[in-house]
Amino acid sequence: MIFFDMPNIKWIISDISEMTKRNLKRYARLPQLLVFSTIQPVMFVLLFTYVFGGAIMVQTENYISYLLPGIIVQAVLFGSMMTGVGLADDLSKGMIDRFRSLPMARSAVLAGRTISDILRNIFVVSLMVLVGYIIGFRYENGFFNFFFGLSLAVLFGFAFSWISATIGILVKNVETAQSAGFIWVFPLVFASSIFVPVETMPSGLKTFAEINPITATANSVRGLFLGGPVSDYVWQSLFWIFAILVVFIPLAIYFYRKLS
């Protein structure tokens, strides 16, 4: 097992919790990070609702009901890209060398980072739900499904955190990690059902949007929030999460071990 690279499980948990605490403090103390990860998604909710909301035709009663599930998925994706940026920051400052010389579990550096990014994503998502509620969003499919939808979005973000971690370890530089992390996420996010129904897109783009894992996840979360048939999308989304984790957790750990 990749996580059990040292004998004492108690120490592994303690190492991961120390690393998680450290990363969370970083978010609390860097105002620009906090702004980026909290105010930006909230701003997106408000801008999309009031600027584009009137012009976009959706089946739901109001645009915020359509938008919020999608924009939550977008927020966790953008948030998860910070995993690689944080790792690249540690690498460029020699912090990782210090960690690697300590008798700590090697996986704790990566696990602590992705777990702290989950916790931050949960915070961001809660904030968005609150703002969405204030401007008219209501879940219509029972609290359990609503909660399941939120969890699916956060889990999806966790999977993308590991892609981001792999990129961060490979590029080792904050600026490069930032651009290399976001450049491919933007087209994925916009060519999906996050903001608009894919039916309105030209046929080539539509095909892409339909197989896009982000569409599957956005549709799952939307269905779970608002009702309607969702099980196909949920399975597709869970498949993608599983596939990404299976490929990228070992890959990130492999590149981390190869660092020197």
Binding site: M6, N8, W11, S14, D15, E18, K21, R22, K25, R26, R29, L30, K93, G94, M95, D97, R98, F99, R100, S101, L102, P103, M104, S260
Partner: protein, 370 residues
Amino acid sequence: MNTELIDYVFQAKKAGLTSEEISSALKKSGWDISHFVDLIDDFNQSLYLFKQKEFFISVNGVSKNYGDIKALEDIYFNIKKGTVTALLGPNGAGKTTLIKIMTTLLKPDKGAVNIGGFEVLKEPYKVREIIGLAGQYASIDENLTGFENLNMIGRLYHLDKGGVQKRAVELLNDFGLLEASSRIVKNYSGGMKRRLDLAASLISRPQVLFLDEPTNSLDPASRQKLWGIIRNLSQNGTTVILTTQYLEEADNLAGSIIVLDHGNVIAKGTADELKTQIGGDVLEFHIHNKEELNSAARAIESLSREIPQIEFDFGKIVIPVRNGMGTSTAVEAIRLFDEANIKIQDLVLRRPTLDDVFLALTGHRTEEKV
């Protein structure tokens, strides 16, 4: 490996007992010898292990290449417990690569390193538990406070909470950082960050402390302070290994010096031994007329065992002199120049630099890489 057993086998072998006699004697006293058959059979191995345990650290034939560049070539040395050892060499000599291999950060292509009885390649976790490392750049978290940094690193050594907090406060106090302990490290000065980095590497009271260019970019006062700290640690039993580019620093701190050049150990010994090799102090003569440099060098040939080095670009001649012989040699040289009717512009008697050590040991100067 049990040292008591190694001692017994070594002594018994030396006394001429056969392998069978040793085995049965050991079995009688309750030892399980199944793992030690080779040791009991082979006198050389028992001798090797017996000698080995005198040393706390041994580096055995370590090599490392980066592509075509040979960063380290077949490095061997041993270090005793509680000593200070300096790895001395110019930039690119392989000092940092060696430190990285010894601290488990980098795998050697060949060879082995043993620290406190643990093989770096086989038991990296055990090694990490007994070492502390302060790298070339302060590797502390800029977004945490001084106290939080020490506390986090202590916890990552798996020390108990109360103990870590007490130790952190103690270190912050020792390093003059107590007042700044609840401030975010980002606002610390360069010297303060350096001190915090060193404190962080001491949080677990490591048996071996590695310092990669610890006084690099420190002002003279901070440098003196750091030297004091290092001396203190070694007096209290910590084995210290540091890298430096300055002979003065190695001279001041280290009981033994290992000189590296282009990935090779080119000299080992105490500061005094190295200085004997280069002859203690150095005399420099600046010759007025550059055309007279060759004849000037010939004129003072008799003063030193080594041939005077001529530096045409600077118009000077350099000779090593034995300790305490500086002034008398200088007087003699002036007389010889006078006899040969050579005018000198300037005369300098100074302590040897790393450059002089290199010149004496390798015949070439250190190649300054900017």
